[in-house]
C-alpha cells in the first residue's frame, strides 16, 4: 500500500515538493532552529552595545543607567570578594526550602481535593478564599508569628509556591481522560493502583507545569521577603544598592536573579523530562 502511495506521489512532482516542504528532515529542522535562537540575542546585544557606545563617547552620563561594562565589572568584583556567592547561596536556600514546603503541601492538598469529591467540597472553598488574599499581605502576621529571621521569609515563599501547585495538581487530576480511567476499571485496578498506574502518569505533565509556575513565584516572593529586612541575599543587594545609590549593583543583582531563576527552571525541566517524554505535543522543546 505504501508503494502505491509512493508511485502516486512521484507522478505529480508538485505533490512531492509539497511533501518535502511539509516534512523537512530532522537535521534540517535543527539547523533552522539554531538560526532563530541567535536572532533572539540580536536585540539585547544591540541595545547594550549602543548604550555602551553612548556612554563611552560622552553622549550620556551613565550614572543612573550604568553601561554594561560597568555592570559586569561590579558583578565580577562581587564574585571575587565572594559576596555574590554568599548572597546567591542565601537566596537559593530560602527559595528551595520554601519551594519544597509549598510544593509538597500543594501536591498533597491538590491530590486530595482532586481525587475526592467530599474533600474538594471541604477544602477547596477555604483554599480559594485564602488564595484571594495577596500573599504579601501575610508579611506583618508572619513577622509577628515567626520572627523577623528565616522562618517568616520561608513561610512567605511557601505560601506563594503553594497556590499555583495546588490549583495545577487538582485541576490536572480533574481533567484526566475518563476514557483512560475506564481502561483501568476494565482491568479491575484497585483505587490505589488506578492512582499509581493511570492517574499519576496522566497528571505528570501538568504537574511539572504547576511546579514550574510555583518555582517562578518562589523567586518573586524571595525578593519580597528579602526586602522586608535581610542582611544577606540577592534581594538585600537590591535594597543596599538603592540605599547606597549604586545602580550597577542593583542591575548586577537583577542579572544574578535572572540567571539563577533560569537555571533553577531548567534544572526542574531537565529532571522531570524523562517522566513526560511520552507526550505527543509541540511543547517538546519548551
Amino acid at each position: 500500500m505504501s508503494g502505491e502511495i509512493a508511485t502516486t506521489a512521484s507522478a505529480w512532482s508538485s505533490q512531492q515538493g509539497a511533501a518535502a516542504l511539509a516534512a523537512p528532515s530532522l537535521a534540517e529542522k535543527r539547523r533552522a532552529f539554531d538560526w532563530r535562537i541567535l536572532l533572539g540575542f540580536l536585540l539585547p546585544i544591540a541595545v547594550a552595545l549602543l548604550w555602551e557606545a553612548a556612554v563611552r563617547f560622552g553622549l550620556a552620563q551613565g550614572r543612573l543607567v550604568p553601561p554594561p561594562s560597568r555592570i559586569f565589572a561590579t558583578l565580577l568584583a562581587l564574585a571575587e570578594t565572594g559576596e555574590l556567592w554568599t548572597h546567591t547561596w542565601m537566596t537559593l536556600w530560602r527559595v528551595v526550602v520554601g519551594f519544597v514546603i509549598g510544593a509538597v503541601a500543594g501536591i498533597v492538598l491538590g491530590a486530595l481535593s482532586g481525587s475526592s469529591e467530599t474533600l474538594r467540597r471541604l477544602l477547596d472553598p477555604t483554599l480559594q478564599a485564602l488564595r484571594a488574599i495577596p500573599s504579601i499581605a501575610w508579611v506583618p502576621l508572619f513577622i509577628l508569628w515567626l520572627g523577623i529571621f528565616e522562618a517568616s521569609k520561608v513561610a512567605l515563599i511557601a505560601v506563594g509556591v503553594f497556590f499555583p501547585v495546588y490549583l495545577g495538581i487538582a485541576g490536572a487530576i480533574l481533567s484526566v481522560d475518563r476514557k483512560l480511567v475506564e481502561v483501568g476499571h476494565v482491568f479491575r485496578l484497585s483505587r490505589f493502583k488506578l492512582a499509581r498506574r493511570i492517574l499519576l502518569p496522566a497528571v505528570l505533565p501538568e504537574a511539572v507545569i504547576a511546579l514550574r509556575s510555583g518555582l517562578g513565584l518562589g523567586f518573586m516572593f524571595v525578593v519580597a521577603a528579602e526586602f522586608m529586612g535581610a542582611s544577606e541575599g540577592l534581594g538585600y543587594l537590591l535594597v543596599d544598592g538603592q540605599q547606597m545609590g549604586k545602580p550597577d549593583q542593583i542591575l548586577a543583582a537583577i542579572i544574578a536573579f535572572a540567571l539563577l531563576g533560569k537555571l533553577a527552571d531548567s534544572l526542574l525541566v531537565l529532571s522531570t523530562r524523562p517522566l513526560v517524554r511520552w507526550q505527543d505535543t509541540v511543547r517538546e522543546r519548551l
Partner: protein, 262 residues
Amino acid sequence: MLELEHLSKIYADGTRALSDINLFVRQGEIVSLIGGSGCGKTTLLRLIAGLDRASAGAIKLDGEALSGPHPSVGIVFQEPRLLPWLSVFDNIAFGLDHINATERKARVEHALEKIGLSEHAGRWPRDLSGGQQQRVAIARAFVTHPKVLLLDEPFSALDAFTRASLHEHLLGLWEETRPTVVLVTHDVQEAVTLADRAVVMQPKPGRIFDELPLTLSRPRDKTGLPFETSVRRILTALDHSLNTPQQQPQRERDRQAAALWW
C-alpha cells in the same frame, strides 16, 4: 455461555436505552450486534463489560452473574485508548500484572508477533498509525485470555484496507483461544465477514429486532454469492427494523373497518 436475561437500561434522565434484551451466546461464538445509531448497541456492551449498571435483568457468564468488570471479560473500545506513557509492549502487558514476568513476556511477544508489530515493541503509541494502535488495543484485550471479548466498533475509524487487514488479525488471534466475541458494528460487510450470527437491533428503546445466523464457511469469500446474499438479508432486516411501526397501519385499517361497519 453468555446469557443476557431481560436486560434493560434506563438513564437518569429517563431515556430508555435498552428494553428487555434477551440473548444467549454460545462459548466461542462470534455475535455481531448491528443497528442504526441510538439503538443501544454500545450501552449493551458497556453493561456486559461492567462499566455501567443495568436497571433490570441479569448478565450471566457460565451461570455466574456478572456485576462490574470481570477478569474473563475483555473489551476493545472504539478508540484504541492506549496509555500514552507506556511503550507498545507495556500497553499490551497492562492487564497481566498478576502473572509472573516470564509468562507475561512470552504472552506479549506472541501477541506482538500475531499482530505483526514485534519490531515496534519499544515505541510509544504516538509513533503508531491509527490501525497499528487499534491492533495493540486488540492484543491488550486478547493476552489476558478472556472468555468473552467485547468489541465496540473497533474498526469504524479506519480506512477500508486497514479494516480488512485488522479483520484478519482479529480472526487470527481469535483462532488461538476461541473466546466468545460480541462485536458491535454498523458495517454490514464487517458483520458478515466476522460473525456466526447477526443480531439486528432497533432504536427507541433499544431492543432486539431479529437474529440471522451466518453459516458461511471460513475463510469467507467476500466476492461470493453466499456472502452477498447474507449482506442483503441483514440490510433487509435493518430496513424493516427502522420502519416497524407496522402495527400502526394495521390498527388504522381496523378502525376504518369499524367505521364502515357502523
